[in-house]
Every structure is written in C-alpha cells, then in structure tokens.
Amino acid sequence: MNKNLFKISPGFEDIMPAEYRELVHDGPYGKNLGVSDLGTFKELLEEHPLCAGCGLALSLRLILASLPNPEDTIIVGSTGCSSLAFPQVGVHNIHSLFGNQNAVASGLKRALKLRFPEKTKDVVAIAGDGATADIGLDMVMHSWFRRENIATIMLDNEAYANTGGQESGMSPQGTVLYMAPKGKKFPKISLPEIAREVGCAYVAVGSPAQPRPLEKMVRRTILVAREIGPTYLQVFCPCPTNYKFKPQETVAKIKQREKEGTFQTREYITLEAQKLLTKLEEGKK
C-alpha cells in the first residue's frame, strides 16, 4: 500500500474521526513495529465490544502488532466473537460467513497473486475454534491440501462463545457446556498434529501469556506461508465468560493449564521452512 493513499486531504482533518487521524499519524504501516513497541503507536485494533479480560481480544491485539507487513496484509475472519472485533481493524479484512474463511482466503490469495505478481500481499485467515476445527474444517484442511500460501490462525477459546457458550471440538474432554450437558464425550481435536501430517510447513501452538514468543510464531506463520505453503498457528485464549472465571485470571488460567499438562506450547517446522526461517532471522540480526 502506498502510504499517501490514506493521508487525509488538507482541510478535512477536523471532520475525520479521531481514531482515523491517529491511525494516519501514528499507525504502524511501513514502520516495522512489533509487540515490544506496543503502547507507543496507534494500534491496528480499535475499541471493540468483547468482554473484559477476553483472552481472544488480547491475542488478536498481539497478533495484529506482530504482522510483519501490515500495510500489505489482508485478513479473512469468520463468524464468532472475533467477528465483533474485526470491523475495528485497520487492515482490509473480510467477514464472509461461518467457517468459510480458508476458502475465501484461497480465492483472495490467488487473486492478489494475479494482480500483484511482484508484490507481497499476505493473506491471513484468523478465526475461532468453531470456525476452524468444526464447521470450517473441510475448507481449512483443503486449503492445506492444495498448498495455498495462506496463514491460518485459530483463536482457540475452547467453546462457541459468541452463541452463548456451547461445546466445540476444541473443548477439553469432560467439559460441561451447552450442548454437552453431561460433559464433552471426546478429546480436544489435535489440529496442530493434523496440520503437521497434512503438510503444513510450519505449525505452532502458543498463547498470549508469552507475548514475544507469540509474536515470533505469528511472524513465522506468515513468512513461511508467503514463501513455502500453508501454515497453522493455534493460539490458546481462555474465555472468562463461558468458562466462568474472573476476568483478571485469563493469563493465570493459561499457566495453570500448562502446569497441568493440558496445554503445551510447541512448534513443528519442516526442514524447508527451517532453512527459510534461519535465513530470514539471521538476515534480520
């Protein structure tokens, strides 16, 4: 994106919303900013209607700050809590329907390749666990099978939160939620391992409890997708509302699950991806 495009025309400063003015003057486009710089620039996410203490909102905020190329990134979202936040995101983003984010992203990425063969346009699918592992699983998996150059990020709050707290494929076994009144009967879907098996070049599981490692994962997810093929990042973002804990406990919950062994940060990197990352990360130093 040419930065001149979104500059405010002289004489219109006063009628543009404050948030937009701030974004133009202090936004992160083309500045190579990251998570460490948070608090010093206008974030790509604007005030959103998600719950206090929302792990998903926190994750989304960190993910957006980690984008390696925000001025040329297009996000495809899906229905769910995150779809309430996306209208306030300062990069182009599409909400089409529930679960079809990876299909939309496939068409979009190929279209952008046709239109901008010389330019890098990152397409990132960011959706909840219901959209990624349940209703949209076929489209997620097929985008991987087809080796689409798109980064898939799951915001895993282990429930259908937006519809009122129903059990999802990513809920841990035994969890009592709506539609699993006697407790969930089968284990959490091991999508990272499935992603690895079907050939995602980079697969990672992270959480907002560790912002800088998460940033690294987000960047790797996008950079490998750009150059090699599909990548998958699963971000554990507990939901205080539906799992009924206090908003200030969101990060403590992650740490507790880590201690219990029911949540584990991990990365699977193919040799090809490792080579690329070594080259890119060394080049940066």
Binding site: L38, G39, T40, E43, L45, A52, G53, R61, V251
Partner: protein, 66 residues
C-alpha cells in the same frame, strides 16, 4: 458504576508488562520521555489483568464516574 484501572504514578517503572497483557487496544500508553505508562480510563473495561501482572503494584482497579 464503571470500573477502570488507576495508576499510581510513582510506582511505575515502565516495564510495559501491563501493556502486553491488556485485551483492550490503545488503553495503556507508554511515554518514551518519562518512561512510564499512562491509562486511558475511558477505554478501560476494568478486567484487572494488568493489576495481576504489575510487579510494582502500581495498578489498582477503582470505580470511576457513576
């Protein structure tokens, strides 16, 4: 009654941990000049996550307005 976090200016060392844990964008700002954090109370939802992480106990939830 609305709850928001309040900062006790003197205690803040500018470690920015609170900024990294806040689910709300553009609430906690960092001033490079004074190396301290500032809170935009109008945008804070008072979840208290920052309170739990601050090593200096510089942040506390408080009620604001009516």
């Amino acid at each position: 009654m609305y709850v928001a976090v309040k900062l006790e200016d003197g205690k803040c060392t500018g470690c920015k941990l609170c900024i990294f844990i806040c689910p709300e964008p553009n609430v906690l700002k960092f001033s490079k000049e004074v190396k301290k954090v500032a809170v935009n109370e109008g945008r804070c939802k008072g979840c208290g996550l920052c309170v739990t992480i601050c090593p200096k106990e510089a942040l506390a939830s408080a009620s604001i307005g009516n």
